[in-house]
Symmetry: C2
Subunit: 200 residues, 2 copies
């Protein structure tokens, strides 16, 4: 049953994304993915070296955006700016990669322990610090972690909502929820909260 157009590779990826998001990485067997694609388990393992390779490939785009966000946060001029960049950037990332983030739901700690995702943990920590604004203040860290985890966890529930609804709602929630950072030395600032633009 060899296909003329070898699109099986991408079909496996989309099927795996659906199944991982629905029942988790560990809760999805290669047999499940093969059944959804309509091929044999061996065919899945022909296109991918192993189960983990499927995960890393389908997460790659989201991880790339996360890394670029990390770099942009590092380039922020002050903590207040870093907080703004982190908040807007993460909301955009969460909205755009809803399905991929939903994949991580559940097996997050174990998956992060894998060497392929080792650096993600460090990025996440820096993201929490930037969102908190005052990383040394427990209440600020708590707010940042709850919002980060909540958005990651919940945006898988909003797969049917349009981005134009989800994005502003999440951004408003984050803006309300995070503790504000005193800007260092406002030179001529009259607008404490600049308008929100979405850029990747």
């Amino acid at each position: 049953m060899a296909r003329a157009v070898p699109e099986t590779h991408d079909e496996i990826l989309t099927a795996a994304t659906r199944r991982f998001a629905a029942t988790g990485y560990r809760g999805t067997s290669l047999q499940d993915i093969a059944r959804e694609v309509g091929c044999s388990k061996a065919a899945v393992l022909y296109h991918f070296a192993n189960k983990e390779a499927i995960l890393t490939e389908l997460m790659a785009p989201a991880i790339a955006v996360l890394q670029s966000l990390d770099e942009r946060i590092a380039l922020a001029t002050d903590p207040a700016d870093a907080q703004r960049v982190a908040a807007e950037g993460f909301v955009n990332l969460a909205v755009r990669f809803r399905r991929e983030i939903a994949v991580l739901r559940g097996d997050f700690p174990e998956l992060l322990a894998q060497p392929a995702f080792a650096h993600i943990q460090r990025i996440s920590e820096r993201l929490v610090d930037a969102l908190a604004g005052h990383p040394e203040r427990p209440s600020a860290r708590i707010a940042a972690l709850v919002l980060l985890a909540g958005i990651s966890e919940a945006c898988g529930e909003f797969l049917d909502l349009g981005e134009e609804v989800l994005r502003p709602a999440l951004l408003a929630l984050v803006t309300r929820g995070l503790e504000p950072v005193d800007r260092p030395a406002p030179p001529h600032s009259s607008t404490p909260v600049p308008p929100i633009h979405t850029e990747d």
Copy 2:
């Protein structure tokens, strides 16, 4: 190696709570629990009918409190009161049962699908409605779901924090994050909350 005092039952429960919270329900085998207790896998299955029975027993206290919270929400006089009861009640529950909630992290959807936890799903939906205040408004539902999921997800990270730090921080975050509900007929009160314009 029969013990004089049969405390194995409770040891299994505490070991299972630790392991479930660390690696998830599915990610923990009966062998893992037995190893941590220091007995055989068969001994674990002597004290509990099956793996699910361990989970239901260790979750029972938290579920009982959740159910009583559900009843108290149902008794609220108006949506604003229901929102306040739900917010305070859930924060208290989350702080108190941090470890038990961390157990659910990950396998939540699959575990809820089990008949023993069927009613929890309905309670969770009512909890989200109460927290949202305006369940018909997408932004309100989003805020409620993100905060609910975020607190559930994140409070497992705060096992070392004291309740006196965690509880007020979470309560403040929820109060800031949730969209306020217009009280039905304010006798003499003016709106104490700052205006937040999030209309869809």
